[in-house]
Amino acid sequence: MKRIWQHPEAEKGKTGKNYWRSLGELSNTPDFRDWLEREFPQGAAEWSTDDGLSRRNFLRLMGASMALAGLGLSACRRPEAHLVPFTKTPEWLIPGKYLHYSTAMPRRNGAMPLQVKSYNGRPIKIEGNPLHPYSMGKSDAFAQATILELYDPERSRSFLKDGKPIDRKTFDEALEQLKQSWSGGADRKLAFLVDETCCPTRERFRSELFPDSIWCVYEPLLTGNSSEAASLAFGGGVKVLPHYDKADLIFSVDCDFLECHDGNLKSIRDFMNGRRVRKPGDKMNRLYAVESHYTITGATADHRLRLPASHTGAFVLALAKELVRSGVESGLAELVSAIDNNPETVLGVDKNWIREAARDLIEHRRRCLVVIGDRQPTSVHILGLAINEALGNLDNTLSVIEKKQEPGWNITELADAIGNGSVETLVIVGGNPVYNSPVDIDWKKLLKKVPTVIRLGMHEDETSALSHWHVPQAHYLESWSDAWAEDGSYLSLQPMILPLHGGLSDLELMASLAGVSFNDSLELVQETFRGVVKKRWDAFKFEEQWNRFLHDGFLEDSAAKVKKISFDVINRCVDFLKRNPLRAEPLAEDRLELVFVADRRVDDGRFVNNAWMQEFPDPITKMTWENAALMSPTTAKKLGIVNETVKGIMMVDKVKISWAGRSIEAPVLITPGSCDFSLALPVGYGREITGKIGEGSGFNAYALRVSDAAYFAVGASIKKVDGKYDLALTQEHNVMEGRALVREAPLEYFNQDPNFTDKMGIDAHAPSGPSFYHVPPMNAPHQWGMSIDLTTCTGCNACVVACQSENNIPVVGKDQVQRGREMHWIRIDRYFSGEDEEDPQMMMQPIACMQCENAPCETVCPVNATVHNDEGLNVMAYNRCIGTRYCANNCPYKVRRFNFFDFNQRPIDELYKGPLAPKGTPELLKMSKNPNVTVRMRGVMEKCTFCVQRLEMAKIDWRAKQGASPDVTIPANSVQTACQQACPADAIVFGNLKDEDSEIAKVKTLKHDYALLEYLNIKPRVSYLGRIRNPNPKMPGADKIGMTTINEMHHHGHEENDGKEH
């Protein structure tokens, strides 16, 4: 069919930015629609998609962003200048090749330095910035998922006035009027309620443009208690920075520092580097974790203590006392004696546990580190600092650095100010305070008192609904900005693409409010940059420095300076501690503790409309698509709450949780390892106004959260309500059934018997034998292999989302997850072990396709759709697959995934409608796909291929570089799979087994390397390094730690070979 394009004429007088933005509207004029429907009723839907991004607009956008990509970084975001596709391609742009740009993702604890992979002008994959120490090329699940966030078809697309779409001009005019209405002193009537982005330009605006305005920073999961404690202890304007690389013993108190959103990638890497045991005698750090509910830090810990969050303060005090008793001098003794108004023991904690832990800490003076979770009150943080100081950790494993941000008002203060009518204009930037601020702040009432509420948000949400003006916010991948990393280093943020929906960045809105005139927000950032570099370099080098800043993604040596300050315990802190005593109130089934925890998937709720995050199984509970209250088996038994698997689906009881006059209903998931009478409530779900993905998922735990008990609360009661609730778990069986899957040993055992992994399970008896089947000779110069270190894997799932993004893996929805049809190519198996069902140990094991040399899937495929290549890859010919699913049946690892429906083409809530459901991927989602990986259709099997597209690209690049040289072997360690590249703990090693210089070749020779299900003689190319724990032998119960797999599997093990009785 011949396609005729009648380009609608541009309205006269519309130039500049309005020009291209108005095309979207133009293409939706009735005339245009009529024409479309008349000419091509079939194609009409495709061209003016519901997501509002028409094909033409899309092409324009592409052209424009290509120009941006090509003309580079000095070009401003001036779309009107570059609307046509290239007539002259920039010389370094090779179609089909990726370009990488440095940027950073704003996070509440400090931005994450990133490098974004851009393909023909559209960002498609997030990687860490390899140059910056806070990333070293690593990233986390949230960062990975922002690609989908960028292309979320349900992002806010238009300016709204009282909920009705308006155009940009109307808003600009209104803003002008508003500004004119402000007299000189009106600044005080202007209040900002902003999220935390650690943005220096924003800080500059605050002090330069809005010095007298109210500035309130609100992040529901950012307490600031740690900074407050540091300020009290060391004087204002500082924060403490732990150095896990320098600590041999880490004592984590209610602190999930291995979870990326709570800690940072550097702490994970530093900590894990101290744990990477290669051979007997290697040093290994030790981790003690005290926590109320299982976290991945607790799962990694060598000693884990279940303790209610509300008892933690008393516990830290008991620990301090024990340290003092064991001879720790310094101010700690005085501090403890000065505030000693507590009982001797912490409820229910084994005294020996505290005593031995304290002794261990003393043995590791100056090399240990006590970290306190952000959730804990300031007094606990002070005590933690005092302990660190007493143990000589200050300036060794913990340093004090200057904090670059001034604290603002807190949200209660702002609410009070609004309450007494002193705010006339409220500007809410990012976040979603109406949804996630403490429930005692009644926004519905308060916002009525503010004459003008302007809200900048990426989504139209609860806060937008109560605002007068809603302004679509540009994504961080669409904006110019800058940020501080956690260590205070100065990072650049640059746009990868023009704002897809014409959104404004926070800086643009703030500058407009202040009447700053600018052509592009780039100038605003450059201004800040100029201020920063002025101190170091001559101004005339500006361009060069700026380009370098953008290229590297950060300014060299810009990290905050370490401050040497002494800790004056008594003078500064005793009073505070006396005012805020640490109590441990007893808990019971009618007096429960509530702990509000960050959700590992949706964070504080910001990722609730992100399907990748919704479908990614929680590392601990393996739950997808919603949250549940978590409680220990004992608590459940006392309250008569049951979980049962009915026909493969986890059916749980629902309860009504009441606290302080408020109540919510929530399903309860029983989780081993939770402390008794404590209920973990993951926040972020139960949104009222959100997109289709987040709609109706989970319950809203914020509804119980008040400002003076925002992180945990004691005294809640629960009542079972009628009815069962079905959860979607990706793993329902939690024990290994005595099978030698995860193989684990304590460090001492490993030192004596380094190849303990070869003496477990059936594999110890069944040596590999010959095979009748011969795959093609594997004699290519590259022989790919992978090794996963179970000691350093935290189970954080960054690899899962990275793989999803790299390999265009579809999401399937809750219903399909319940049916066991999730599509992840790599998954993390989580097992509990140990005799104590209440308090088991946890193990993680990432499983992806093992690329068996003797692959059982290949022999059974009748059409040769999955075959072996000479590099040892088990490759998939998607086009050849007819979908017999025999390969998946015969896969012992169950890593093959089948497209039961057209997950890419049909809406996930209409899968069963078949051809009656709308077909086609929204244009926006198409943009998020990796063009180097086939998007699979229904009826096709798929699985991990070691990111074969990356391998091929690396080989091609190397050949191109080598020219006629016969050396086609790519340099060692020069290619990374997506999972490996994301892994913050560096637990995944991948490379060419044939290359002796490669890391993988070395790792595979380690004694504790083992293959899973080796006895099947399938010769997997992925192997594991046995998990090693480092328990303190003097601790109570230490003899069981790390020993469960040895104990359970020993009767299958080497003893028989030795002829011993057992």
Partner: protein, 465 residues
Amino acid sequence: MESSATTLPETQIMKREPLVTNQRSMAWITDKVSGIVEGKTPSWWWIATLITGAIAVLVPIFITYLVSTGVGVWGNNNPIMWAWDITNFVFWIGIGHAGTLISAILYLTRQKWRTSINRSAEAMTIFAVLCAALFPVFHVGRVWFAWWLFPVPNANGIWQNFKSPLLWDVFAVSTYFTVSLLFWYTGLVPDLATLRDRAKSRFKQIIYGIFALGWRGSNRQWRHYEKAYLILAGISTPLVLSVHSVVSFDFATSVIPGWHTTIFPPYFVAGAIFGGFAMVLTLLLPARAIFKLHDLITQKHIDNMCKIILLTGTIVGYAYSMEFFIAWYSGNEFEKFTFMNRALGPYWWAYWTMISCNVLSPQLFWFKFCRTNPFVIFFVINCVNAGMWFERFVIIVTSLHRDFLPSSWGYFKPTHVDILTFIGTIGLFVFLFLLFIRVLPMIAVFEVKSILPEADPHYHGEKKG
């Protein structure tokens, strides 16, 4: 003989039971069997055909839904990638076995009693294989490419994978179907000629005439016929053993505990014969009662079939227990777990249904009373029909749902599409059988005549009393 002294008293020679009772004549047999086809269509036939036809329509409806929407409309999941689809396939293909066994092996071993049941058993085979073939074809994710299973030259230049048992299945089942059809049709020719000769209407004469291929019953034709039939019987005999052996290879050659078992080929063949005979009886008992065929399908026939069911059922029971024994004896923890899980895991009910139906219920056939009471027989054979379906379900689903890594264990439950498609194939099967008995002689007239005493005028073999 007569002149020599008789060493045994006459009364001690046990009389062989006649295969056609009441001393029916050849003409009576022709009239009786042809009469079923020629007579007025009974009203029950219309009702039954309409009902089963309506049920059979479920097949195209749900296959259409399946193909247009995706395999996800079934309950299959990860790790249970095969469930009712392959269960039904093996179930139906197994049923087909009795037909070939009766026509080929019993023919070669000169089991004369086969003559009154072989025709309908062969028809049953063909209908069962048709129902069976539906599943492997339509269970694939992209059925429009299912032709890639056949070695058709194509532009991709990709050949089939001859290591795959699934490919062996394609050849085994298609060969089996072709040979069974030929065998059945060859055997039908003389009877078609009889129907042609007896036909009153011109239309029938033409139709039967075409299919009778000009059969005139000449000596020469009989000679050719006998040779052809013998050859086909020779070809079919190994197929009886091979088809279900190949089907069992789908499982036996895999690595999955519960599938990876060398006992499967004989166990599957025994099971198939077991299930096939049960289905033959299921169809013939009502037909015998309705058409009053008691003189042709005698108590002895039924008794023989019951005994075969008892024998094969016991073989199957032996196989079940041997699987357990080997799982224990192998020392393989995965095998052990799989079998314990079958008996005591989430699908215990399926396992014990299978054991009670397949192993326990046929034991009633040790008693003559049970082998002669049609109600007991009907009860047992329907137990066996269900039990054999459950056997395949147990093998497929319980092995897959909990294999090596406990993290990926799952549970299968069928959707309404699974259930209705299967019910549809039952409808289709019975519908086709009803059509068959209406238009073709359900008993091989000429073959039955050949075992009458009159067909053996020299009284070889036995003395007529």
